[in-house]
């Protein structure tokens, strides 16, 4: 299992080639130039939206759904969430957004064939199909477990079905597939494939639950997290998560540079959004301690 090489990200004024609905989401195709050739599954892109007179300064991060080096394009699947994604959805082909890509650590890929289950919630499936292709190319098998709140929030069920017979789909409201959570079909899928790797992308509670199931089944859990980001490139320190290192010490790691794909077993899921007292340097955060070291 080896980490992908870390390419030097490119900053490009990227023209929008297509922007169209994809269920509850939007599919955005960007002319990304050389950046397209550097992408591995799990890499993300950071967009600055709205140009110079915009009141929004911070970058928005999106998983890269597909990258086509020949066409020099990058495709993203995004949901309207707040101001920036709403403004992005109001763009039209021909408009330009400032793109930085590829960013982050992609999913670790096997050197040889391995069997893997790919678990995704909502648009979290976007980066999974490129990953599936590469696993299949290396002679492994893949299964998909796709979940969402409702049918329109599922993305890529057909793409998954075209790739593998092992596809389980669930929705919270039962409007498509089984009614339930991705954690319901996951154990069976791991067993069916004898999977040693579970890759997941979705909300934090899902990643935690997936990791628990994977670990219980002796599989490695590779989780792509979504932590609020301001820059996407590692300079603002806003996107940290408590992650336990090889040395057993927990530190706040930037999810944009150390992640977004983390070994799920090392992330302190329950402590996200808190300051665990055993975190390295947490003692220094108490201004009233008597000894200043």
């Amino acid at each position: 299992m080896s980490r992908q090489p870390r390419p030097k990200p490119k900053q490009v004024a990227a023209e929008i080639l297509a922007l169209e609905p994809a269920g509850a989401y939007h599919r955005l195709v960007l002319d990304a130039g050389d950046a397209a050739g550097l992408v591995s599954p799990g890499h993300f892109a950071a967009l600055a939206i709205g140009g110079r007179e915009s009141s929004m300064l911070l970058r928005r991060a999106f998983s890269i759904h597909r990258a086509d080096p020949a066409a020099r394009t990058i495709e993203l699947i995004f949901a309207e969430h707040g101001k920036g994604t709403k403004a992005l959805a109001a763009h039209r082909p021909g408009d330009t957004v400032d793109l930085i890509a590829p960013l982050g650590n992609p999913f670790p890929l096997p050197d040889g064939p391995v069997d893997a289950v790919l678990v995704a919630g909502g648009y979290g499936s976007a980066p999974m199909f490129g990953l599936a292709e590469q696993i299949l190319d290396r002679g492994g098998r893949v299964g998909f477990v796709l979940g969402a709140g409702s049918e329109d929030k599922l993305f890529g069920v057909e793409i998954a079905r075209a790739m593998t017979p092992y596809v389980a789909v669930v929705t919270d409201d039962g409007s498509y597939g089984g009614k339930g959570r991705v954690t319901d079909p996951l154990p069976g899928m791991i067993r069916e494939l004898g999977a040693t790797e579970v890759h997941s992308c979705g909300p934090m509670p899902m990643l935690k639950a997936v990791t628990e199931i994977a670990t219980a089944h002796g599989a490695r859990s590779h989780t792509a997290v979504e932590e609020a980001m301001a820059c996407g490139i590692g300079i603002c320190m806003t996107c940290v998560l408590p992650v336990e290192g090889e040395d057993g010490v927990t530190r706040f790691l930037r999810s944009c540079t150390s992640g977004p794909v983390f070994d799920g077993a090392r992330v302190r899921w329950d402590d996200a959004g808190t300051l665990p007292s055993d975190l390295e340097g947490a003692d220094a955060m108490n201004p009233h301690r008597e000894t200043a070291r």
């Binding site: 030097k8 990200p9 900053q11 600055a48 110079r52 009141s55 929004m56 300064l57 911070l58 970058r59 101001k83 400032d98 930085i100 932590e227 609020a228 301001a230 820059c231 490139i233 590692g234 300079i235 603002c236 320190m237 806003t238 996107c239 940290v240 998560l241 530190r251 706040f252 540079t257 996200a272 959004g273 808190t274 300051l275 975190l279 390295e280 340097g281 947490a282 220094a284 955060m285 201004p287 009233h288 200043a292 070291r293």
Partner: protein, 317 residues
């Protein structure tokens, strides 16, 4: 870098930089990530994230909120401490020819001095920025730079502990009734320069959770939103220098700079150097763009050197 504009900028009486562009502390880490977008040796200086004598985890998340033309942050000075910096980050910076302005802080005056002393004779270090816009544990947690005498003491201690070849800058907060008084105390104490401004204290409430959005409750407001406040601070302090009320030292101006035009505003107000902060999150390539734009802006206005433009807004023709 030509157009025949002399872009050299004084960092202190003894140190001159090839150009006035710096990064603002905490907005470029220790340079490694920014180096992928801008060769660090092309900057006048790179200012590091503030470093304490010891390891600090920083605050819990959420650590930021976007605000109109700005952002709020409460990172809480996460870092591995001065020893780690000197051993693992500084050599890498020095190798790349970066001129490093090391931002330091402590919770007590002695901690500032300790960090400063550790930088003595270190290759790559061109100066020290004492971030006194942080709470003073010995004075009921009141921010050092909110109090003239705390500011004076700390800057005096840093100046005494630091390598005499390294200019010492005091980084001031705008959240005071009179920034001129604090500037006077710092220069009196031996500061070789002033960095202005740090963030403004702000707060955003999450209207979904009904609670303050940041884990740290309040945070620092930065970005173009605060630029008029920053320019005002630089202008006021430079005016006080002209009037003899504050000892004359270079000013490193910052707060919402996004373009050469913005940088020129700070220079005209009295800054000798300009630092880019929040803009880097939007555009990590900004430093070279701003440098080029500033150069052109100076040329278009018939300046032949940066020096001529410094404080020009104070003269009537």
């Amino acid at each position: 870098m030509s157009k025949n504009i002399d872009m050299s900028a004084p960092l202190g009486a003894t140190v001159t930089l090839p150009n006035p562009i710096s990064t603002a502390s905490g907005c470029a880490g220790y340079g490694r990530e920014l180096h992928r977008f801008v060769p660090l040796d092309a900057l006048g200086t790179i200012t590091t994230k503030t470093i304490m004598p010891y390891v600090r985890s920083g605050r819990a998340t959420p650590r930021m909120a976007e605000t109109p033309s700005g952002m709020l942050n409460s990172i809480g000075l996460q870092g591995s401490g001065i020893d780690h910096f000197v051993e693992h980050e500084l050599p890498w910076l020095a190798e790349r020819g970066a001129r490093v302005l090391v931002s330091i802080a402590g919770e007590r005056t002695e901690e500032f001095a300790e960090a400063a002393a550790r930088l003595k004779g270190q290759p790559g270090v061109v100066g020290i920025e004492a971030n006194i816009s942080c709470p003073n544990v010995a004075n009921r947690g009141l921010v050092f730079a909110c109090d003239a005498s705390s500011s004076y003491e700390t800057i005096r201690a840093v100046r005494a502990a630091a390598d005499p070849a390294q200019p010492v800058y005091a980084k001031l907060t705008p959240d005071v009734t009179s920034i001129v008084d604090i500037a006077a105390a710092c220069t009196e104490a031996g500061a070789d320069g002033l960095s202005m401004i740090n963030t403004l204290l702000g707060l955003v409430i999450d209207t979904e959770t009904l609670r303050p959005h940041l884990a740290g409750t309040t945070g620092g407001l930065s970005g173009p939103a605060i630029r008029p406040v920053a320019v005002r601070c630089v202008y006021q302090v430079h005016a006080a220098m002209r009037a003899g009320a504050v000892r004359r030292v270079p000013i490193l101006g910052m707060g919402g700079i996004t373009s050469g035009r913005d940088a020129l505003e700070f220079v005209l107000a009295g800054a000798s150097g300009v630092a880019l902060g929040t803009v880097l999150f939007n555009d990590p390539s900004a430093p070279l763009r701003v440098l080029r734009e500033l150069e052109s802006a100076l040329a278009e206005r018939d300046f032949t050197s940066l020096q001529q433009a410094i404080g020009r807004a104070h003269t009537s023709n």
